[in-house]
Amino acid sequence: MNPKIIKIDLTSREFSIVSSRVSDQYIGGEPLAYALLNEYLTGTYKMQNYMSLNTGPLNGLFPFTSKSLIMHFSMGMSVNKYIGGGSLGSLMNFSNVISIEIFGESLVPLYLDITPRGVSFIDVLDSFNSREFGLTGRRSSVLFKKTIISDEYFSYGVPRTEISNNLVGLTFSAVGEVPIPDRDAYWEVVQLLNSRIKELGVKKSNSPSCLGCPVGCALSHSPESGNSPLLPRSLLSCVYAESIYRDIPTVFSCFSVLGLGYTHDFLESFSDMSGEMIKNTYNKIEELKIKNSITGLL
């Protein structure tokens, strides 16, 4: 079953849910976010705000892979990435939603209540309370304030360029299921990964934990820089678990027990292929900048 992408237009207050094969090639996380941006710049691009919230196929199902990535493409044509913890990425993955793309801007402050089945557009009035939205035990919220923050605790960092789309925040609720073809094999891989907990650069503590992570480290609320290799960046694994999730045989085992068909050869060539696509995306942005400066749009 192909993962879904929820496309939301803030200007017209319309949404669509499409099935996509983009994760076949770019798995998820940062490479997938760039691939979607590339697709957007190639196709229906117009001068407007663009944002995407992205997850990966292992998110929440295996320990230390619980981050999500927010990509913002500003009106000034700069790409900014924000990576944070919490439960958003995992709940999206449990719902087979690999990305949420948000286009345009609202005239008034707006909040989105999202499930894999639909989107509600809520005007933010004085009495607004984001806790009123979502499904009990399977909701995650993101608020775009001075800092981007999810689940009232996990930071994605301070926006480096203004996100001028009037989106105050959103709630995502998980609906759906992830089939586990071989439960015993799955548990075996999870236990193996848990046994590598000493490889993490952080210690156990009693802080709120990202979904699926047994550590509860004191740094769980901190944003991540995203400076790890492309394979862990596609999985949105924790930066402190980089040594685990850049290891191709380990990642291959995780995919195999979920019945996902990524081959060993594909994983070997993944970084080069994704790196090329990301370079191509930046080239497209440069071309658009030149085009826009000629036509006087910038």
């Binding site: 009990t136 689940d151 992830v178 934990s209 699926g212 509860g216």
Partner: protein, 81 residues
């Protein structure tokens, strides 16, 4: 007969691993909606909600919790004579 019991709710870090394993214990899928354990945030802490209207005595759920929040308690089945 046994059932799942919360013994250290204050230690919960909200990882929801118990909720995942609870759904996986009953079927071959991860589905938070059908899970008999739900974790909800309550200020700075977490609340653990159990649906005792179903079989809950899965050791894998007890063992999955990294903070030892659960055990299995013996209960008397009043239907047995």
């Amino acid at each position: 007969m046994k059932r799942l019991r919360v013994i250290k709710e204050d230690s919960c870090i909200g990882c929801k691993i118990c909720a995942l394993y609870a759904s996986l214990s009953k079927s071959d899928k991860v589905d938070l909606d059908s899970s008999f354990v739900k974790i909800v945030r309550d200020g700075k802490k977490f609340k653990i909600l159990l649906d005792q209207g179903t079989k809950t005595d899965y050791p894998v759920v007890v063992n999955s919790c990294p903070r030892g929040c659960f055990d299995l308690e013996e209960i008397v089945d009043t239907n047995e004579s």
